[in-house]
C-alpha cells in the first residue's frame, strides 16, 4: 500500500531505510524491540493453544469426575482439578478459544463501526460531526464496564451478548481516533489533488483516507483486544458472560472463589491465563506503537 505522505518525508531525509515499504519498515522496527517480541510470542502461544485445543487438551472438558474434585496439580492433572473434578489445564486451553474469539471479534466489530462513524464525522464535519462526536462523548461519559453490564442486562446474559456489549463500548474510542486522523489527513496535498481531479468522496474516503488512518487503529486495536479480554472475563465473573459449563476464564475465577483458601490453584491458573494474555497483547501493542508511529522514532 503506497503511502505518499511518508514517501515525501523520507525522500527529504535521505534515510537508508527509504528502499523499504512502510509495512516492512514497521516490522523491522518491531523486531528490534525485544519486549514487543516477547509479547508477540505470548500472543502467538495462546493463539496456537486455541487453534490446536482439541489435540492438546484432554477429551471431555465438561466431564465431571466428582471423585477427583479439587485435586492439587499432579502428573495426571497438571494444573489440578476444579470443584466438579474437571481438568483445569484442558479448560484453560479451551478457554483460550473463547477469550481470543471474544477479544478479536469484539475489537473487529468496534473498529468497523467506529471507523465508519469516525470517517464520516471527520470528513464531512459540521453538523454530522457534531452529532456523532456528541454521541461518542455521551458513551464515554459512562464507565465502560457499567455500560457493558447495562447492555448485557438488556440483551440477556450470554457470551454472544457480552461480545456485542464489549464491541459497543469500544466504538467511541476508535471513532474518535479515526476522526482526528481524518481531520489532519484531509488537509494533505494528495487529498486536495484527488479532489481536484474529480475523484468521488467515497473513493477518496476508502482508498486514500482510510488506509492512511490505519496505523494508529492497529496499535489501538491490539491494546483494545487486551481490554476486551479483561472485560469479557469481568462479565463472565459477574455471571453476565459465558454461561455454564463453558470454560470461560472469568467464569472459572468466579466459580472458584469459594475455594480461594482450600484450593487456590482453581483460581491462580485461570487468573494467570488472563494476566498473561492481557500482558502479551499490551506488550505487543506498545511495540507496534513504537514501530508504526513516526513521531516515536528515535
Amino acid at each position: 500500500m503506497a503511502n505518499p505522505a511518508r514517501n515525501i518525508d523520507e525522500l527529504e531525509t535521505t534515510d537508508p531505510k527509504q528502499t523499504r515499504g512502510p509495512w516492512r519498515e514497521a516490522w523491522y522496527e518491531f523486531k528490534k524491540n525485544k519486549i514487543a517480541v516477547v509479547g508477540f510470542c505470548i500472543v502467538l502461544f495462546f493463539i496456537l493453544l486455541a487453534i490446536f485445543a482439541p489435540w492438546i487438551a484432554k477429551e471431555g472438558i465438561n466431564a465431571q469426575e466428582t471423585a477427583d474434585r479439587l485435586l492439587p496439580p499432579s502428573a495426571e492433572y497438571w494444573l489440578g482439578t476444579d470443584d466438579f473434578g474437571r481438568d483445569i489445564l484442558s479448560r484453560i486451553i479451551y478457554g483460550a478459544r473463547i477469550s481470543l474469539w471474544v477479544g478479536f471479534s469484539a475489537v473487529i466489530g468496534s473498529v468497523i463501526v467506529g471507523s465508519i462513524l469516525g470517517i464520516i464525522a471527520g470528513y464531512y464535519g459540521r453538523w454530522v460531526d457534531t452529532i456523532i462526536s456528541r454521541f461518542f462523548d455521551i458513551m464515554l461519559a459512562f464507565p465502560s464496564i457499567l455500560l457493558a453490564i447495562a447492555i448485557v442486562a438488556v440483551l440477556g446474559p450470554s457470551l454472544q451478548n457480552a461480545l456485542i456489549a464489549i464491541a459497543i463500548i469500544n466504538v467511541p474510542n476508535f471513532g474518535r481516533l479515526i476522526r482526528s486522523k481524518v481531520l489532519s489527513i484531509k488537509e494533505d496535498e494528495y487529498i486536495t489533488a484527488a479532489k481536484g481531479i474529480g475523484m468521488r468522496d467515497i473513493r477518496i474516503l476508502f482508498s486514500h483516507i482510510l488506509p492512511n488512518s490505519m496505523a494508529p487503529v492497529i496499535v489501538q486495536g491490539t491494546l483494545a483486544i487486551a481490554t476486551a479480554i479483561l472485560e469479557a472475563a469481568a462479565l463472565g465473573f459477574l455471571g453476565l458472560g459465558a454461561q455454564p459449563p463453558s470454560p470461560e476464564w472469568g467464569k472459572m475465577l468466579a466459580d472458584s472463589k469459594d475455594y480461594l483458601q482450600s484450593a487456590p490453584w482453581t483460581m491462580i491458573f485461570p487468573g494467570l491465563a488472563i494476566m498473561l494474555t492481557v500482558l502479551g497483547f499490551n506488550l505487543m501493542g506498545d511495540g507496534l506503537r513504537d514501530a508504526m508511529d513516526p513521531k516515536m522514532k528515535s
Binding site: 466438579f84 469459594d258 491462580i268
Partner: protein, 550 residues
C-alpha cells in the same frame, strides 16, 4: 529507548513475582493483620466484660426487611425479632414441641374451639407499659383488621382476615387482666404451633399507637430479653439487654450486634479475623476449615428444610407426568450432596424432612437410574430428548449452598439422558417473582419450615390454594386438596398423620418436584461461645448465650 524497555520489563517481572508471592502468602498476611485486630478487639471487649456480659457480634447473610415480624415472611427479620419480642407460647429449645412463654398455662375445650391462656404476671414491655390480656387482644385485632399486603403471613396461617369466609379465629377476648380466650369457628389442628410462630409475637400496643404501623417497624417494642437500640440499613442492627426482663438472670450478654455480610466467604473471613463471634450461612465446603481451627467451633442447626427442583406443570413438556418421573430418575442426588453440601445433607424423598411428624417413610422415592429415565422419556414421546431452561438461584440459601453449581451438575445428569438444559439465573427478587408467575420450566428452590407442622410444607408448597404464592409448580390435585383441608380441621394427630402420608403418596406418584436434599445449615462461632441451641426454624434466641474470652 532500549534501556528504558529493559528496565520496564524488569520492573514488570518484579511486580509479577511480588504479586505471585502475595497471592501465595495471602493467608499468612491475613492472619498476621488479624491477630492485631483480634487483640485490639479483645481488649475493648474484656474491659467491658469486667462489669458486664460483653458484646456479641452475629454476622449473617442479609439485612432484615422489617423489625415488626408480623409484616414479613422473611427469615432475616425473625433472627432479630426473636430476641426483642415474645409470643404467647413458643417452641422448645432446638425443636418444635410447644412450651409456655408469655402464657404459663392454657386450656383447650373438648370441641377444640375454645383456647384459654393464663398469662405471666409482672411482664413489662420495653417502653415500660404492662403486658396483659388487653395487649394480646389488641395485637390480634390489629392483624385481623389488616390485609395480605400488611400482614402477609396471618392469612395463610389463620385462613384469612376478619370477615373472610375462611378466617379461623372468631374472637379474642380478655376474660380478666391475665386470661385471654380465643374462640375458633372450626378446629384448627396446628393452632398452637401457629401462635408460637415468630410473626405472631406480641408487641406493645402503646408503641404501635404512638409510631403508627410504618414507623413501628423501625422502632420495635416487645417484652423480649433485648431491647432495640439502632438499625443501620444493610449494615447492622444493635439490641441491648433489657434490665427489667421478667426472667431472672437473663439475658447474659449486654449487647448483640447483627451485622449483614452477604458474601459467604467474606463472612467466614470476618469470623477468622475475630471481627465477629458468631456467623451463620457457613459454606459446607468451609466446615472442615472451621473444625481444624482451634479458635473456632462449628455448630450444626437441626435440619427442617427441603431443597428441590420444581417442575412447572403448566409448561411443556412438564405437563406430562412421565417426563416429570423421568427427571426424578435422571438426577443423581447423592452426587450433588457429596459435591456441594460436603455431606451436610440427606437425600430428599418427600417434600418435607423426616423429622416432621406425618413423614411417610414407606415411600422409597426415585432411585438414580438414567436408563429408566430414558425409557420413561421414550414412553412419553420424548425419546430424542428436549430442550429446557433450568433456573438456578443467584444467592446461597440455607437449603442450597450454591444453586448455580448444583444446576451445573444437573445439567450434565440431564445431558446423559438426552435433555439439553440451559442454566438461567435472575436477580433473586426477580427470580422469585418470575418463578411464582410460572415462567420457569424448572427451577431450584427450597423451604425452611416455620412451625414444624406438615401443613407448613405440604399445603403451603403444593396445594392449589397457594398457586401464585408458594406453590411455584402450579401443581393442582383435587383429591390432595381435600386431604389437606381435612387434615387442617382434624385434631387427632394420628388421623392427621395418615392424611398427610396419603398426600405424600400422591405427590410422589405425580412428581411435581425433584426433591433434592434436607441440608444441615452450619454456623461458625468463636471457641468461647456457649449457650446457643440453634433452632430448626433458623431464628435463635440468644438470651442464654455467653462468650468467654480468655
Amino acid at each position: 529507548m532500549k534501556l528504558k524497555n529493559t528496565k520496564s520489563l524488569l520492573g514488570m517481572l518484579l511486580l509479577f513475582v511480588a504479586l505471585m508471592l502475595a497471592a501465595c502468602s495471602g493467608g499468612d498476611d491475613d492472619n498476621a493483620s488479624t491477630d492485631a485486630n483480634d487483640s485490639d478487639g479483645g481488649d475493648d471487649v474484656s474491659s467491658d466484660e469486667d462489669s458486664t456480659g460483653g458484646i456479641l457480634v452475629f454476622a449473617r447473610g442479609g439485612d432484615s426487611t422489617s423489625l415488626d415480624p408480623s409484616r414479613t415472611t422473611e427469615g432475616e427479620t425473625f433472627k432479630v425479632t426473636k430476641n426483642i419480642y415474645e409470643s404467647i407460647v413458643t417452641f422448645e429449645e432446638g425443636g418444635t414441641e410447644i412450651v409456655p412463654k408469655l402464657a404459663h398455662d392454657w386450656e383447650i375445650s373438648e370441641d377444640s374451639l375454645t383456647y384459654t391462656f393464663f398469662l405471666e404476671e409482672g411482664v413489662t414491655f420495653h417502653d415500660g407499659t404492662d403486658f396483659n390480656a388487653d395487649a394480646v387482644v389488641k395485637n390480634f385485632e390489629r392483624w385481623a383488621a389488616g390485609d395480605a399486603d400488611t400482614f402477609p403471613y396471618y392469612n395463610s396461617m389463620f385462613g384469612g382476615f376478619e370477615g373472610d369466609e375462611g378466617h379461623v379465629i372468631e374472637s379474642v377476648k380478655a376474660e380478666d387482666d391475665y386470661t385471654v380466650v380465643f374462640k375458633l369457628k372450626r378446629p384448627q389442628a396446628p393452632f398452637l404451633k401457629n401462635l408460637a410462630m415468630d410473626m405472631f409475637s406480641i408487641a406493645s400496643p402503646t408503641a404501635i399507637e404512638k409510631y403508627g404501623d410504618d414507623d413501628f417497624e423501625r422502632n420495635p417494642v416487645g417484652t423480649g430479653p433485648f431491647k432495640f437500640v439502632e438499625w443501620k440499613p444493610n449494615d447492622s442492627i444493635t439490641i441491648e439487654r433489657y434490665d427489667d426482663y421478667w426472667v431472672d438472670g437473663l439475658p447474659k450478654m449486654d449487647k448483640v450486634v447483627f451485622r449483614s455480610i452477604p458474601d459467604n466467604s467474606a463472612r467466614l473471613n470476618a469470623l477468622l479475623a475475630g471481627e465477629v463471634d458468631l456467623a451463620d450461612g457457613i459454606n459446607p465446603s468451609d466446615a472442615a476449615a472451621i473444625q481444624d481451627n482451634a479458635d473456632l467451633q462449628l455448630i450444626e442447626r437441626p435440619s427442617m428444610n427441603v431443597g428441590y427442583l420444581g417442575l412447572t406443570v403448566t409448561r411443556e413438556p412438564f405437563d406430562n407426568k412421565l417426563v416429570r418421573q423421568a427427571m426424578n430418575h435422571a438426577i443423581d442426588k447423592q452426587s450433588i450432596i457429596d459435591t456441594f453440601f460436603a455431606g451436610y445433607a440427606t437425600p430428599a424423598v418427600n417434600p418435607m424432612p423426616p423429622s416432621i411428624e406425618g413423614y411417610n417413610d414407606e415411600i422409597e422415592g426415585y432411585e438414580y437410574d438414567p436408563e429408566k429415565a430414558k425409557e420413561l422419556l421414550e414412553e412419553a414421546g420424548y425419546g430424542d430428548g428436549f430442550e429446557m431452561e433450568l433456573w438456578a438461584m443467584p444467592v446461597p440459601r440455607p437449603y442450597m449452598p450454591d444453586g448455580q453449581k448444583v444446576a451445573e451438575l444437573m445439567q450434565k445428569d440431564l445431558a446423559d439422558v438426552g435433555i439439553t438444559a440451559e442454566i438461567v439465573s435472575h436477580e433473586w427478587a426477580t427470580y422469585l417473582d418470575l418463578a411464582s408467575k410460572g415462567e420457569a420450566d424448572a427451577f431450584l428452590l427450597g423451604w425452611t419450615g416455620d412451625n414444624g407442622d406438615p401443613d407448613n410444607f405440604l399445603y403451603v408448597l403444593l396445594d392449589e390454594d397457594n398457586i401464585g404464592s408458594n406453590n411455584y409448580t402450579y401443581y393442582k390435585n383435587d383429591k390432595m386438596h381435600d386431604l389437606f383441608i381435612e387434615a387442617q380441621t382434624v385434631t387427632d394427630q394420628s388421623k392427621r398423620n395418615e392424611l398427610y402420608k396419603e398426600a405424600q403418596v400422591i405427590i410422589n406418584e405425580e412428581a411435581p418436584w425433584v426433591p433434592l436434599a434436607h441440608s444441615t445449615p452450619l454456623l461458625g462461632a468463636v471457641e468461647g461461645l456457649s449457650g446457643l441451641v440453634p433452632h430448626p426454624t433458623g431464628s435463635d434466641l440468644l438470651s442464654n448465650v455467653e462468650v468467654d474470652r480468655e
